[in-house]
């Protein structure tokens, strides 16, 4: 019986032909795959080396010993004579400094906010929620720029006197100077005492613990003796070494008297200085990561079943004992893995230092690469710099996945629960009197401690809200936004082709509305909010015209050959305006309103420097106003002289036309202000200009041989503080006028397509849904075609990707990234689960390698290497290169998401398919992927949102997407000083998109649509 070599009919034992033997086939498949991957890799590498050689660069490490030739102002001392290797060392120190300090601070802040999120106090809970949502839904890079440009660099000039805080701490745009600690020569000896103290203290601790154990009671009273031991030894050491081992250095401003007699701060001496770059990077990383850590902490604590807490209470534990002995030990096990991931993210995100010029590893490598030509070699360190993520950890936080990865699998099988009959009708609970007061008592004033918190936070909120409102209404200069809406929308896309962008917007809007009607429901709240918003936007321009327009000032000034170019504006028939012409004296205060030409801070000085104190002002200035078609026939003329009286006139315009104001001055010094009331500043956007031309005809190109200025908002500056009426008249009205037509069209398209979707769903749900999905698939190439155009086409001339920008480019990058990454991600995920080792290893390597690198490095690498790797790709522009980088990056993350979906499919599914005789391809396409992909739809949505925010990183390679455009706009001379307004505006755009998408995906996840049969 135990004999194992049975005799068989020889005819049965036919040898298996090689081409049908499973073992041979799998081996061959692996060899082919490996050879293919390796040979493509070698070909690309070879191309790259050839390209580098032809450029005279050989990748090797010798360049590290060459002299750097650049300076680093941060970290250990470094001068331009030091080598590249030294520069790299400095960079590593800088990175470690930011990351190590950042980890500690972000953990503290994150835990505090996470706990606040769980507070029983409604107000505290919701402040934490707002903090988390605001930071998670805007890109880190936007936050960094805001903090750096809008906060640290917007601090007062050192010269003008830094802000002094108690400490003393001095804040200026050169950084933060705090009291510093200085170690003297005796410090090392004193440290020995401290170390001995620590050793002794640990003995004390141990002895107390043992004693308590022997006595049989819980170990208490060991902290105080241990601390005392250290303190005593430190004190003894301090006295023993003689000179104090540690001294403090207080910052002292070094004042200097200028020749004018003014006393200014030259610099602050002593203390420790934190540069604006370091401070901004640190602060940005800390507050951003803290938002994610807070969510991790909250999820961890909430994952502890409530039964645990009830059981602990039943055992008689106190609140804090329950927390310490029951909740925290269990929560920490859930918190720690994703917390580690957040730490990694912080380390990876520190590479964004390059954006604000902080010399970290990535930034310095970039500089070295540019200086030495060793771009390819310098890519190597980034990978080693960072440890890998745990393979199973998706970026959960960003993917909105449940904290417990296994839950996916559990839910998957729970879904087959069979319910035969509906449960009996549930009764309503007895009506309990809740009421507003009851709610407040429960949620705001539960205990004295709660009440205190509520009051403190309510005060803080009111304070912050008032400050914010004052800034928004009074101080902020929103012209930068209103005037540049087209740039923010589509960048440098040619103005005459913008209709194509609108067309694409409407196509996507229609499809979204259709999908909304087919798969979702528009809630009543959404309808009301949307409708109200739209109506307000539509009536806003008319409403704003009810408010008085602030006056416009122009200043004919002596001493300039052309005192004021002709000013043109549009005026309607019977429109009346009031002119006042006032000679300026040294006592004249800067008026409130719009001023022409000068920057708003320079204005006061500008007119006053025209007044020469030692000689009598002898200005004679004349202004006259006329129809632009007949500039020589003035409707009114005003003349003033220095020291004379002001003149004023009230005129009524005869016809709807272009008008011109001209001026002439005589004399050597002096100035006069012309105040114009009743003329609204013209809007400067392309669409507004087209409107003016339609109504008033084309503007005159020249007036008396001079190019006229328009009295438009881009040329005017608001000085003084606005009040609400001014805000409505000059910000809300024009802004609404710019956007309300698009908003109306978009809303109509959404409403119509939503109803079409609903109706189609009622007629034939399955077919309509299929059609909608097909339409989405078709829309992708169609929209790309419309945007890019056709070669040689009249109707759709080619608009190169280099001209795409703004929100358009942001969305295109995100969509292309996720769509193109899809096949890569799915194949890599399948490959990683393959039974064939060669396939598995190569796919795993790709996924883990890419996931170990920050995206900014990938984008940068793609930008440098794509043209080198394949000669035919040399001419592709940066947008395409960025797309390649983002696609490869997203592919790796998508692969992990899909792998999660694959793992959630019960093994039995594959077995059943195989038992039915399906081969691997049929099984994968028909059974495995449909289920896996449906299960991970919410996670893919999360990935898309993350990608949407990450597109801001392409600013590093100089692309002009939303963030890039914002930076370009604020660098224009007329918008200097408006960085906060610009960044706040784009942050709001990012937030609106990101928040809308994430709440939609959360709803999708909650409804189970991702997993259930819905498609």
């Amino acid at each position: 019986m135990s004999q194992r070599s049975p005799t068989f009919d020889a005819s049965l034992h036919q040898p298996v032909p090689l081409w049908r033997d499973v073992r041979v086939l799998t081996l061959v498949a692996q060899i082919i795959f490996a050879v293919l991957v390796v040979s493509v890799g070698i070909a690309l590498l070879n191309n790259m080396l050839t390209a580098l050689r032809s450029a005279g660069i050989t990748p090797n490490a010798d360049f590290l010993q060459r002299t750097a030739g650049f300076e680093l102002l941060e970290g250990p001392a470094f001068s331009r004579e030091d080598t590249f290797a030294d520069a790299f060392r400095v960079a590593v120190v800088n990175t470690l400094r930011v990351v190590s300090v950042g980890l500690v601070l972000t953990t503290i802040l994150g835990v505090v906010i996470g706990i606040a999120r769980l507070s029983s106090n409604w107000l505290v809970r919701h402040i934490a929620l707002v903090y988390i949502e605001a930071l998670q839904n805007t890109p880190l890079l936007v936050q960094l720029y805001f903090i750096y440009l809008g906060v640290f660099l917007a601090l007062p000039n050192l010269r003008d006197g830094p802000i002094e805080l108690p400490g003393p701490v001095y804040l200026s745009n050169r950084g933060l100077v705090t009291p510093g600690v200085v170690f003297t020569e005796t410090a090392s000896i004193w440290f020995l005492y401290v170390i001995v103290g620590l050793v002794a203290a640990s003995f004390v601790w141990y002895a107390r613990t043992r004693a308590a154990e022997r006595a049989g009671h819980p170990p208490t009273g060991r902290l105080a003796p241990a601390v005392a031991t250290v303190a005593v030894l430190a004190a003894v050491g301090w006295l023993a070494v003689g000179a104090p081992p540690i001294t403090f250095s207080l910052p002292v401003p070094d004042m200097r008297e200028l020749p004018t007699g003014e006393v200014v701060v030259r610099r602050v001496e002593g203390g420790d200085t934190l540069t604006p770059e370091f401070s901004a990077l640190l602060l940005g990383l800390v507050i951003y990561t803290a938002a994610f850590i807070a969510e991790v902490v909250r999820a961890g604590v909430q994952a502890v079943p409530y039964g645990q807490i009830e059981a602990a209470r039943a055992q008689g534990f106190s609140y804090f004992q329950t927390l310490q002995l029951i909740v925290l030990p269990q929560a920490l096990r859930i918190i720690i893995p994703p917390l580690g991931n957040q730490y990694l993210n912080l380390a990876k995100n520190s590479s964004l230092a390059i954006a604000i010029g902080f010399p970290d590893v990535f930034s310095v490598s970039n500089t070295i690469a540019n200086q030495s030509g060793q771009s390819v070699t310098m890519l190597l360190p980034h990978h080693g710099e960072l440890p890998h993520d745990e393979p199973d950890d998706l970026r959960r936080d960003q993917l909105h996945q449940p904290a417990d990865a296994d839950q996916g699998a559990v839910r998957m099988s729970d879904r087959y629960v069979y319910v035969e009959t509906a449960p009996p009708e549930a009764r309503k609970p007895p009506a309990t009197e809740v009421g507003a007061l009851g709610w407040m008592r429960k949620n705001l004033f539960g205990t004295w401690y709660d009440a205190l918190l509520t009051l403190v936070f309510a005060f803080l909120i009111v304070y912050a809200a008032v400050g914010l409102l004052n800034w928004v209404v009074g101080a902020a200069n929103w012209d930068v936004v209103v005037n540049n809406l087209r740039l923010f929308g589509s960048g440098r896309y040619p103005a005459d082709q913008v209709g194509r962008v609108t067309a694409v917007t409407l196509i996507v809007t229609a499809l979204s509305g259709l999908a909304w009607g087919l798969w979702g429901r528009m809630s009543r709240v959404t309808q009301i909010l949307w409708g109200t918003g739209l109506v307000m936007l539509l009536i806003a321009p008319a409403f704003a015209s009810l408010f008085p327009i602030p006056p416009i000032y122009a200043a004919p000034t002596a001493g300039t050959s052309s005192p004021l170019a002709p000013l043109i504006f549009v005026g309607g028939e019977n429109q009346s305006l009031h002119l006042t012409f006032t000679p300026v004296t040294r006592e004249t205060e800067t008026p409130k309103g719009f001023i022409g030409g000068a920057s708003r801070t320079a204005w006061g000085e500008y007119t006053r420097t025209a007044l020469e104190p030692e000689q009598a002002d002898d200005l004679t200035a004349t202004v006259w106003i006329a129809e632009a078609s007949a500039p020589d026939r003035p409707l009114v003329t005003l003349t003033v002289t220095s020291g004379g009286e002001a003149e004023s006139a009230e005129i009524t315009l005869p016809a709807a036309s272009w008008y011109v104001i001209q001026s002439a001055v005589e004399g050597a010094s002096g100035a006069a202000w012309l105040k114009i009331e009743g003329v609204p500043p013209m809007r400067s956007s392309t669409s507004a200009q087209a409107e003016y031309e339609q109504v008033y005809g084309p503007p005159p190109a020249t007036i008396d041989g001079e190019r006229p200025h328009r009295l438009d908002i881009a040329w005017l500056r608001f000085v003084g503080t606005r009040n609400l009426s001014d805000f409505v008249a000059v910000v809300v009205g024009p802004f609404a006028a710019e956007v309300n037509r698009l908003a109306l069209v978009v809303s109509l398209v959404v409403v119509v397509s939503y109803w079409v979707g609903m109706a189609a769903g009622r007629i034939n749900e399955k077919l309509s849904r299929r059609l909608a999905v097909a339409a989405w698939l078709v829309s992708f190439p169609v929209t790309m075609l419309i945007l890019r155009g056709l070669d040689g086409s009249e109707a759709l001339p080619v608009v190169g990707t280099d001209r795409w920008g703004g929100l358009l480019l942001t969305l295109v990058l995100a969509v292309v990234g996720i769509v193109a990454a899809f096949p890569i991600g799915v194949l890599a995920a399948l490959g990683r689960r393959s039974r064939l080792p060669a396939v598995r290893i190569i796919c795993t390597f790709y996924i883990e390698f890419v996931r170990g690198v920050p995206l900014v490095t990938v984008i940068w690498a793609a930008n440098v290497m794509v043209p080198l790797m394949e000669p035919r790709l040399a001419s592709v522009d940066s947008v395409i290169r960025a797309m390649v980088g983002m696609t490869l990056f997203t592919g790796a993350y998508l692969a992990e998401v899909v792998r999660g979906g694959l793992q959630a499919i019960p093994r039995g599914q594959e077995e059943a398919a195989r038992a039915l005789g399906m081969n691997a391809v049929v099984m994968t396409v028909l059974i495995v992927l449909p289920q896996a992909l449906r299960a991970v739809i919410p996670a893919i949505a999360g990935l898309f949102i993350a990608l949407f925010k990450d597109t801001s990183l392409v600013v590093i390679i100089g692309l002009l997407e939303l963030l890039g455009i914002a930076r370009t706009v604020i660098s224009q001379p007329e918008y200097v000083g408006t960085q906060r307004e610009a960044f706040v505006f784009i942050a709001v755009i990012y937030f609106v998109f990101s928040y809308a998408m994430s709440s939609a995906s959360r709803r999708l996840e909650a409804s189970g649509a991702g997993a259930a049969r819905k498609l």
Binding site: R4, Q14, R20, Y416, Y418, A915, L916, M918, L926, R1013
Partner: protein, 256 residues
């Protein structure tokens, strides 16, 4: 004592649709199947029972190669199960299998579950496959459920769909891997009735089950597995009333 056939018994692939000789399988170091040799005649119903972990499920899973065996020979309908991909595909399409957890495809309707393999593996036309599917649903008693999704059906109904799905490939042999173990008691009968009807229609069946009533009534032969071996084999009469092996007696005393 008859513990299956001897490993060196002559191989007759004419009379026996399944011939297993000297089958050995290991999971890592664990020896799951030890020298298993069995002959199954055409149209025979064989019930396989035994304690948990005795290798009975693994045994029937090796027959359609859901598990690969390391030693021994399996010949199904004259085709030897080797590393030849063509043989594996051919054998799988001749063997239908029903699982303990049903393993219906949750993203497809009942109709699609049944017609998928005939269309994609057998290359039938959709009409042909759907006609066959309707006929099979009629046969398992749930013709009205064709357009529902598995999640909307009861366990018993799901398992009957699984049987129909396997039958749609027109197999010569049906393997049942504890088909009623995941069902509520009130649903077991409806599945067993379908299986009885199938047995009466002349299907060759290998059934791993703990339903001794079914075994007594329907089985032509019962194999009793323990520690990866067949310790007892024989007709229900012999198995229930005259077991030879002590292990079998103990097993029967505990379940009856």
């Amino acid at each position: 004592m008859d513990a299956g056939v001897d490993a060196s018994a002559p191989v007759n692939t004419e009379a026996n649709i399944i011939v297993v000789r000297g089958l050995n399988k290991w999971f890592g170091d664990f020896h799951v199947l030890k020298d298993v040799s069995v002959d199954v005649r055409h149209q025979e119903v064989v019930v396989i029972c035994g304690p948990s972990g005795s290798g009975k499920s693994t045994f029937i899973r090796t027959i359609n190669r859901l598990e690969e065996h390391q030693e021994g020979t399996i010949i199904v309908d004259g085709i030897e199960l080797t590393h030849d991909v063509r043989n594996i595909a051919q054998i799988r399409s001749e063997i239908g299998m029903v699982f303990q957890q049903f393993n219906l495809f949750p993203h497809l309707t009942v109709m699609q579950n049944i017609t998928l393999a005939p269309i994609w593996v057998r290359r039938w036309s959709r009409d042909e496959a759907e006609a066959k599917a309707r006929q099979l649903l009629e046969r398992v008693g749930i013709p009205e459920q064709a357009d529902k999704y598995p999640g909307q059906l009861s366990g018993g109904q799901q398992q009957r769909v699984a049987i129909a799905r396997a039958l749609a490939m027109e197999p010569k042999i049906m393997l049942f891997d504890e088909p009623t173990s995941a069902l509520d008691p009130e649903m077991i009968k409806e599945v067993l009735d379908v299986m009885k009807e199938l047995a009466q229609s002349g299907m060759t069946m290998l059934v791993v089950t703990h339903e001794m009533g079914f075994a007594r009534e329907v089985a032509d032969r019962i194999l009793f597995f323990d520690y990866g071996r067949i310790v007892e084999a024989g007709t229900p009469e012999h198995f229930f009333h005259n077991p030879q092996h002590d292990r079998t007696k103990l097993f029967l005393s505990q379940i009856l």
